[in-house]
């Protein structure tokens, strides 16, 4: 696109300002994580890595981290299964109520978290008489993660021409074989990207978790919330947050790479290759 020099620079400036807006608070968090003052004065009187060592030693934080991992993996697995199934139905078939599925799937994430959380919690404790535990948390998380996998999968399936699948059937493959050898490989990177985003969402979720978790357990956000206001624990929380950001560079990068390698078999319309757009089909 032809833009004047001035417009280009204005645009670049807008991007810079936008990125600054996004990153300044994160940088503040990083600075606080090294702040030697316990009550987090500003500007920090001096710097220390003390809080990071404390974070590693903190048993509650470590347990919460692993609980979050477990919940995230399980919820993502369920979301992947259900999301893929739904996407296959919607993108490859026509049926009564097809348009409604997209609407249905987005509801758990669009409706206020407190509503979803209380509804699920009530059903478990009052109707099913199942006590709250990590299981109920996973059910809650999976419910609003389905849409993320679903969106990515549908977007991908729409770009994958179904002529490949027809060809496969013509060559004698039955339904599972076609799925296994033709459809799934085409979808795989979109599913991985969707799965990673779903995991991220589950890992950071607080509101629904608050209502569906049992007394004895904590996910990382719950641990953070319970320590946010304790003056003695707060610096550790910042350190933990920084650690989580650092660790998460890996899956974000992975999601991106896997999305980008998809270029070939799409026969896609849309503007130039480069970054795959489904990896960004957002929560």
């Amino acid at each position: 696109m032809r833009l004047s020099r001035r417009s280009r620079w204005l645009l670049r400036a807008a991007v810079a300002v936008g990125l600054a807006f996004i990153y300044v608070p994160l940088i503040v968090i990083v600075i606080y994580a090294f702040n030697s003052s316990k009550i987090l004065e500003w500007p920090p009187p001096s710097f220390t890595t003390h809080w990071f060592t404390q974070a590693f030693k903190n048993e509650a934080a470590r347990e919460a981290f692993f609980t979050s991992l477990k919940a995230g993996v399980a919820a993502t697995a369920i979301a992947l299964t259900l999301g893929t199934l739904a996407s296959l139905a919607v993108a490859r078939h026509r049926f009564f109520g097809r348009e409604t599925i997209s609407f249905l799937v987005i509801l758990p994430i669009a409706l206020p978290g407190i509503v979803t959380g209380v509804a699920i919690s009530n059903t478990f404790t009052q109707v099913l008489e199942v006590p709250l535990s990590l299981f109920t948390v996973i059910v809650g998380h999976a419910t609003f993660c389905i849409v993320i996998v679903y969106n990515n999968a549908v977007a991908r399936l729409r770009r994958l021409s179904d002529s490949f699948e027809e060809a496969s059937a013509d060559l004698g493959a039955h339904t599972w074989q076609t799925f296994r050898y033709v459809t799934f490989p085409g979808m795989r990177s979109a599913l991985i990207a969707g799965g990673l985003l779903a995991f991220a969402l589950s890992f950071d979720e607080i509101i629904v978790t608050n209502f569906t978790i049992g007394a004895g357990e904590q996910t990382l956000p719950i641990w953070i919330y319970s320590n946010l206001f304790r003056p003695h624990e707060l610096p550790i929380v910042n350190a933990v947050a920084v650690l989580v950001i650092l660790i998460s560079i890996i899956p974000v990068y992975l999601a991106h790479r896997l999305g980008a390698e998809e270029g070939g078999a799409t026969g896609g319309r849309g503007a130039g290759g480069g970054v795959e757009t489904e990896a960004t089909a957002v929560p």
Partner: protein
């Protein structure tokens, strides 16, 4: 021999596949049983069970639900002006945040889609996604400390005689715009990417100025993507109660639901119906505008 091997494998999996072959309804049914069962029976059913309590009332001392039909919760909602104020405050903020994020996100998404090099695109995508991995709570708390009277914002502004917004509705707007920005950037970016460069070139070849091209080609084509992003900024703002609690004294719908959910669940259920209706209405409008193709 080969045919024997093939004949052997025509058991379980193959036969099951044969059962499904040609029977579209069976295929669709099998695919949808899980997800639809989970979402309709599990999720919608739970919602219905919760919302039915809106027609009940509660004993003030024991907190036990009195399961007799009554409209008193809705009467209270309608008659007491504070609830209207709170609802309007929440919706207004949600709309403002959406607008703000759309305005900030668009240039960034445009740059990413049309002007950045391949490498730049990749870096920017990662750069936008990374903050999504930092804890929501930590981000809000960071803003709380930034906005505090002795915090970094005042520290930076006071020397030039200005003053930060402190806690309050402005803070809520600021923080929410901050939090949901990536959710707006990414769909717009995806939508802009889908616009073929050839269309833009054609527009320019036909003599349109960049501004006209933007107004008459790019904007209409990317609008559904903007609406798609707005679904998240709007609904996430509408339902949040933690941010208003941490950076202001203002009550949002979520706060009132939260303070009633323990002791007066019928009333909380009646309150909850409001954001549900608003969100569904918003989703229906968004769908009409084509957002669901872009989400």
């Amino acid at each position: 021999m080969a045919s024997e091997a093939v004949a052997e494998r025509r058991s379980a999996g193959h036969r099951l596949a044969g059962l499904f072959h040609g029977r579209e309804r069976l295929q669709v049914g099998a695919l949808l049983a899980g997800p639809v069962g989970w979402l309709v029976i599990g999720y919608l059913g739970s919602l219905a069970l919760l919302l039915v309590a809106a027609f009940w009332s509660v004993d003030p001392l024991s907190g036990a639900t009195i399961k007799e039909f009554t409209l008193e919760n809705f009467e209270a909602l309608v008659n007491e002006p504070v609830y209207r104020d709170i609802i309007w405050r929440t919706v207004r903020t949600a709309l403002l945040v959406t607008l703000t994020d759309a305005v900030i996100a668009f240039p960034i998404a445009f740059y990413m889609a049309k002007l950045a090099s391949r490498r730049g695109k990749a870096l920017l995508v990662i750069g936008i996604l990374l903050p999504l991995w930092s804890s929501y709570l930590v981000k809000v708390y960071a803003w709380r400390t930034l906005l505090s009277a002795n915090g970094a914002i005042n520290w930076a502004l006071e020397p030039i005689g200005l003053h930060g917004p402190g806690y309050g509705i402005t803070a809520v707007w600021l923080v929410m715009s901050y939090l949901w920005l990536p959710y707006m950037i990414l769909p717009i970016y995806a939508g802009l990417e889908r616009i073929p460069n050839s269309l833009i070139s054609a527009s320019e070849d036909l003599g349109a100025s960049p501004f006209t091209t933007f107004r008459r080609v790019i904007l209409p084509l990317s609008f559904p993507a903007v609406v798609a992003g707005s679904i998240f900024t709007f609904s996430l703002t509408l339902g949040d109660y933690i941010t208003p609690r941490l950076v202001s004294n203002d009550q949002f719908i979520g706060n009132v639901i939260f303070s009633n959910v323990a002791n007066n669940q019928p009333f909380a259920a009646a309150l909850a119906i409001v954001p549900i209706v608003v969100t569904i209405a918003y989703l229906l409008v968004a769908r009409r505008l084509g957002a669901f193709e872009h989400v």
